[in-house]
């Protein structure tokens, strides 16, 4: 296909792709631009695209007025914490399933997947009540636990598909070479598994960072991560677009960059290995 494209067509396709791409990206671009406007310019009609007085005051004011940093820290704690805990639980399981599969392995994997498909509203009430009784509502600990559990199946799955690609021969060779289980993991498996583990972590951080059902329902003020904090701008009186934009830009920038770097691995994780 590639070589049959005429120069004329190539230009036409290029223009079309760029127009559509920019159109799709525009809301994000607009948010970033608005974050550098004053509140007045943000709602100006007709809106100004680039020719306005660029200002950074929204960024400082978001922090001053609502302790933005605290929500960032909450988001970081929840997404990184759940990823770390999830990794500790998921790596051994995925390792076992990839390298010592039994007749039941496939069934277990499928079942894990099915838990991911359970709609949150189906278990919301009991979780809410249990958390209330245990004092976990609006705590970082509680939310981290929930995020770990919500994403555990994806972690196991993704790690499994990566581990599966490590040839079993190599582990057997290590065993023949006299490596104990611990040495096998440390010297052979770990170095080969690092790329897979890294992209699993990345996907998990992105998913946890953006999760917006549990974070909205189980937090109030103390443990609210960015998803919940941004939602507070939905009140009608909160028409501070420039500040909303500044807060939003900061909330999405790190994840957007992470996502851009890991597109290919994300496809695999998001489709449970069905598309690579």
């Amino acid at each position: 296909m590639a070589r049959t494209l005429t120069p004329k067509r190539k230009v036409a396709f290029t223009v079309l792709a760029w127009v559509l791409g920019l159109l799709i990206f525009f809301p994000i671009l607009w948010t970033v631009l608005t974050s550098f406007k004053t509140e007045g310019e943000a709602i100006a009609n007709p809106p100004s695209f680039l020719f306005f007085d660029w200002t950074l005051e929204n960024y400082t004011e978001v922090q001053e007025r609502s302790n933005y940093l605290r929500h960032v820290i909450n988001s970081v704690v929840i997404s990184f914490g759940s990823t770390a805990i999830g990794l500790l639980i998921a790596v051994p399981a995925a390792w076992a399933m990839a390298f010592s599969p039994t007749k039941r392995t496939k069934g277990i994997l499928m079942w894990m997947l099915s838990t991911k498909m359970l709609p949150a509203v189906g278990v919301m009430m009991p979780i809410y009540l249990i958390f209330r009784d245990l004092g976990l509502l609006d705590t970082l600990l509680g939310l981290t636990i929930v995020m770990t559990m919500v994403n555990l199946p994806i972690m196991v799955w993704m790690l499994y598909t990566y581990f599966k690609e490590i040839p079993g021969d190599i582990l057997e060779a290590a065993r023949m070479d006299g490596a104990q289980l611990g040495q096998e993991i440390l010297y052979v498996l770990a170095p080969m598994a690092v790329p897979g583990i890294a992209s699993t972590c990345l996907l998990n951080i992105i998913l946890a960072w953006n999760e917006a059902f549990w974070t909205l329902n189980l937090t109030a003020a103390d443990a609210a991560p960015l998803t919940a904090f941004i939602a507070s701008y939905s009140s009608p009186e909160g028409l501070f677009w420039a500040k909303l934009s500044a807060a939003s830009t900061m909330a999405i920038a790190p994840i957007l960059i992470l996502g851009w770097f890991s597109q290919r691995q994300l496809v695999r994780g998001l489709t449970f290995g069905a598309v690579k």
Binding site: A2, S100, L113, M124, L152, A231, S234, I252, V275
Partner: protein, 290 residues
Amino acid sequence: MATMHTRSIARLMMAPSVILLLGWMLIPLSMTLYFSFLRYNLLMPGMEDWAGVFNYEYFVTDPAFVTALVNTLVLVGSVLVISVGGGLLMALLLNQPIFGQGIVRLLVIAPFFVMPTVSALVWKNMFMHPVYGLFASLAHGLGLPAIDWLSSAPLLSIILIVSWQWLPFAALILLTALQSLDEEQMEAAEMDGASAVRRFAHITLPHLARAITVVILIETIFLLSVFAEILVTTSGGPGYDSTNLSYLIYTQALLQFDVGGASAGGIIAVILANIVAIFLIRLIGKNLET
């Protein structure tokens, strides 16, 4: 593959994941099931008693339920059509050797990484606002009356927002699938004299069939429980015009504190999701063999 020794270690290594997930799924789900048969309201503690199928009857016969169910299906269906259709076109375009392919690709997939509350609010305020929104400015510039999107077409607005988030997902997955298409197969078809349209219909599309199915199923799972977008834009309104099943259960639970009713709704949602999940799990299971 393994010897007895490694097998028992393997079991031990799997135990934490299996036990935790089992607990996470089984305990709350059976509690939900149990609650769904109780008269149980958080505002009236100590008044719990057996209600039989009353909660289900109440939930299902509530006119809001039918509205929410229809809204859910319309939302899922429309977003699927827009995101898969648009995503496919975008993927085909991005698969061409165009200038700046990598950058356009980054632009296209970006919305998928935006948290739902941010995208909902950005659209609500900066685009769909009847006075200051960009759409209003645009309409004004064209001499048309501005539309109050969220109150006059609430469901459509939410469909637009959610599609914007999921089209990139479809485009990314389908593009990846396209790139794994065997070049030689295409060349063979070309040698056989198949036109571009026929090559697309007979080779590209069948090759994408599985990826498209996966996209549809995964999106359906997520779209069935769209929540944050509704919460921060329309709050389900006006009336129940943009309430979906998830949101209806949420209002029942955390706004009316009706645990029994919400649980009955939750069970219904679980059943709905399971119908889709069965297909998805089968599909992925087939893939596991290879």
